[in-house]
């Protein structure tokens, strides 16, 4: 019975807990932490129960306060105007990422912020709000709600970036982030307005069923692409990424990675579900491909000379985002051509989507290791590090796992997804896959540099010990997932990636699931 309401519960638990945190705080730290974790675990649990339903039904439409999303006017015209959650394979896929990241981030925070005296209640409230924002964006079937959740996510993130407000740079980073978020949100709002003005609807499926790709729609499309790509941190709107990622506390950085992917998700939704085949797919595809290639290249070349370990990793985020854009872009570009789409477009998208989760995992892990180093050494400057491997072997091991994964070295999961991308993209244009491969090696080089200057070298003078247990646990959860993903990539692709791809590619299903229910 309760499972019917799973989508609502997934959001309700963290949301309610988030408001309850100040109260829970009174009962002591342990109690609060436990409750926060519990709420996230509940969410995860419901995500897990929701998944089989989605996989068997294709699309699930959940309407708040009603069984059907629409109201039927006396005239017989029906319109989905209630608040609906529309959950398909792609949403579930993203929900997995959101839950994993939130949970391990939370656990890690226990250790990481142990020494913080003030503001911890706020920290956990905001952290929960971030996951609420993510879940919301992922599940919602309604453009305006998506905007709302995006705002929730942005505000929570912004506050968390500025968590260490006593350090001047953090406020600067938070400010930058805020500006970017507001612009992106504004763009989105305008687009939503355009749609509403034209079609009198906010529901994605509803708009999709009516859209006719006129000039206004095109403007809305570009606004959405620009705004969401900006929030996802793709070149050339990536300048906020290094600051925000660099300054935020490590667990938040990891959450930000997932948050930017939520924006990416929204971008994909826009292209595939909202516009679908009505789009000039080749052109939009190419735009996305070019954005992707640029992000890949610019990100990695900016990363190589960095001295600040977190900034370096942040630039890699830009570059990794490029891979996802590349694969999806190729998929989009050949959507019109069923044969090409079947032979390689699909595979390219599989690669990209698979890369999303892989990336969330290994990038999260890397940021957490960077956080662990910062926690112990109080510096982010590579030149001031050295010999960490002597003192923090587990952290080193996690770093190596993450670095090899991001560099796409077999047999790690990063290779598996990049491999899908290379293997399909070359059919579209071999140069693209050549660039992808070269970027991969450049990534490797820059991580070898980090490995060398931070972890290797003579023993440190300071008597530094391994990071606290909670942090190790947070990292271990992700590392284990990475290893599982590395060992059984085919299984992962089959069970969670393929449904996501199919969901994206199959606009009709989505529309009919929502509209048909009316």
């Amino acid at each position: 019975m309760i499972f019917e309401h799973a989508p609502a519960l997934i959001i309700a638990f963290p949301l309610l807990t988030s408001f309850a945190v100040p109260i829970l705080n009174r009962f002591g730290e342990k109690f609060r932490n436990f409750f926060v974790l519990l709420s996230l675990l509940f969410s995860l649990f419901f995500v897990l129960t929701l998944a089989p339903q989605v996989y068997s039904h294709g699309v699930i439409v959940y309407t708040f306060g009603s069984t059907s999303p629409g109201i039927t006017l006396p005239s017989g015209y029906s319109m989905p105007i209630r608040i609906t959650f529309t959950i398909d394979g792609m949403s579930i896929f993203m929900a997995f990422i959101a839950s994993i990241v939130s949970i391990s981030g939370l656990i890690y925070s226990w250790g990481f912020l142990k020494k913080e005296r003030v503001g911890m209640d706020k920290f956990y409230s905001l952290l929960l709000l971030m996951s609420v924002g993510m879940y919301g964006m992922i599940f919602t079937g309604d453009l305006f709600n998506m905007f709302v959740f995006l705002e929730i996510l942005s505000i929570a993130s912004c506050a968390l970036i500025a968590f260490w407000v006593h350090k001047g740079e953090t406020s600067e980073a938070a400010f930058k982030y805020m500006v970017v978020s507001s612009i992106a949100a504004l763009f989105m709002l305008i687009a939503v307005g355009i749609f509403y003005g034209q079609y009198n609807a906010l529901n994605i499926a509803a708009i999709a069923s009516m859209i006719n790709y006129n000039l206004l729609d095109k403007i809305a499309l570009s606004l959405l692409i620009v705004g969401l790509a900006m929030k996802a941190g793709a070149v050339p709107m990536h300048m906020w990424v290094p600051d925000a990622y660099g300054q935020a506390p490590a667990p938040i950085t990891m959450m930000l990675v997932a948050a930017s992917q939520a924006s990416l998700y929204a971008l994909f939704r826009t292209c595939f579900t909202l516009f679908g085949l009505r789009l000039d797919v080749a052109m939009v595809g190419w735009i996305i491909i070019i954005l992707g290639i640029l992000s890949m290249f610019v990100g990695v070349t900016m990363a190589i000379p960095q001295k600040d370990i977190k900034k370096l990793m942040a630039y890699h985020s830009v570059s990794q985002t490029g891979y996802m854009l590349l694969g999806v872009g190729v998929g989009l570009a050949v959507m019109n051509d069923p044969i090409a789409f079947q032979t390689y477009g699909m595979k390219a998208m599989e690669g990209s989507i698979f890369h999303i989760i892989n990336y969330a995992l290994y990038k999260g892990l890397l940021f957490l290791t960077a956080g662990a180093i910062f926690y112990k050494l109080k510096t982010r400057n590579l030149d001031e590090m050295g010999g960490i491997a002597h003192n923090m072997p587990l952290t080193t091991l996690f770093f190596i796992i993450g670095a090899l994964a991001i560099a796409g070295i077999p047999p790690l999961n990063g290779f598996a997804s990049k491999f899908l991308i290379y293997e399909s993209v070359y059919r579209f244009n071999p140069l693209l896959s050549i660039i992808a491969m070269v970027v991969s090696v450049l990534t490797l080089a820059s991580f070898v540099k980090v490995f060398h200057s931070a972890f290797m070298g003579p023993k440190m003078k300071k008597n530094v010990r391994e990071a606290p247990r909670a942090m190790l646990l947070g990292m271990a959860i992700i590392a284990i997932l990475i290893i599982i993903f590395s060992l059984f990539p085919a299984m992962v692709v089959r069970t969670i990636v393929d449904p996501a791809v199919i969901a994206l590619a199959n606009q009709g299903n989505y529309i009919s699931a929502v509209m048909g229910g009316i």
Partner: protein, 317 residues
């Protein structure tokens, strides 16, 4: 039961066969190099003896190193190289993992031994090793572009990255005259990448004995050194086999063993041409010359090859 046999024994068999063959080939390589220098050279079994001896020697672990990285690097290097053998067909014998085998996978697998060496070099904490490791990285970055082009171009022609498929098509026959030139250029590219991939003169800057005293391997001794030595031998063999599989899959059409010998002969020739002769007839290049060499002329050549093949494909279709 049978599958267990296959899973356990076939790889072991292949690995040991590969090891033995690699070492013999290394012996031949040394012998021929010596003959180039008007010397008699060591007997063919010399590499075996070297390995034996190293295995028996004390293995010193320097005080300053990061022990677990330092000690696991050689093992990973060897395992990585042996893995390669499972993906590359040896003449008439299909690779046990050939079905999953894939050109890109193999090219990336080639980086594992090098990476292990880099990590080991860094871990040993010796300044020479550190410089060596940095050079190795630079080199890996330099020859990656031509290799990527090679992979893309071949796969484009054969429309698959699967090595099994590539090696069962004679690539030369799939193209017209322009493409032929393109493939020839590709062959040139891959032959010139070979010495770098295998860290041989003139591209042995990471191990330059006279500059950085053996570079990456300065601090390694005994068993660990032997493992690296083996992994180097296996890697050489695997790379030569890969070239044979890509470019010279010609069959004789005799018995299976005849076919196998024919394959070994091809590998030998490839090895002599791309490794032995080059290594005796050239001086060591500086690392930025190496980078320049791969980023400029070789990248251009491979681009040209790619273009030619593209034009050819367009014409044929």
């Amino acid at each position: 039961m049978e599958t267990i046999m296959q899973i356990v024994f076939v790889p072991i068999g292949i690995a040991s066969l590969g090891l033995i063959l690699s070492l013999i080939f290394k012996g031949i390589d040394r012998r021929i190099a010596a003959r180039f220098q008007a010397r008699v050279g060591p007997p063919l079994v010399q590499p075996f003896r070297d390995i034996m001896k190293l295995m028996l020697k004390e293995t010193i672990v320097p005080e300053n190193c990061v022990r677990w990285v330092y000690e696991s690097a050689p093992i990973i290097a060897l395992v990585g190289s042996l893995m390669l053998l499972l993906y590359i067909p040896m003449g008439p014998f299909n690779a046990p993992l050939g079905n999953f085998g894939d050109l890109i996978l193999v090219l990336y697998l080639f980086t594992i031994p090098s990476l292990a060496m880099v990590a080991g070099g860094f871990a040993s904490g010796n300044p020479y090793a550190t410089i060596g490791a940095q050079r190795e990285m630079v080199m890996m970055m330099s020859y990656e572009l031509p290799l990527a082009m090679l992979a893309a171009a071949t796969a484009w022609k054969v429309t698959s990255f699967s090595i099994a498929k590539i090696s069962s098509t004679v690539i030369w026959s799939t193209v017209g005259p322009l493409g032929l030139v393109g493939i020839l250029l590709l062959l040139v590219v891959v032959l010139s990448v070979a010495p770098a991939e295998l860290v041989k003169i003139p591209f042995d800057a990471p191990e330059a004995e006279t500059e950085i005293a053996g570079g990456l391997l300065v601090d390694y001794s005994g068993r660990n050194l032997a493992l690296f030595y083996l992994s180097d031998a296996v890697k050489s063999f695997a790379f030569a086999s890969l070239i044979v599989a890509l470019f010279f899959p010609f069959k004789l059409g005799t018995t299976i063993w005849g076919e196998f010998l024919w394959f070994l002969l091809k590998v030998l020739i490839v090895m002599i041409v791309s490794v032995t002769t080059v290594r005796v007839a050239a001086a060591r290049l500086q690392i930025d010359n190496i980078a320049g060499y791969y980023w400029k002329p070789i990248a251009l050549v491979s681009l040209a090859a790619l273009a030619l093949i593209a034009i050819d494909t367009a014409v044929v279709i």
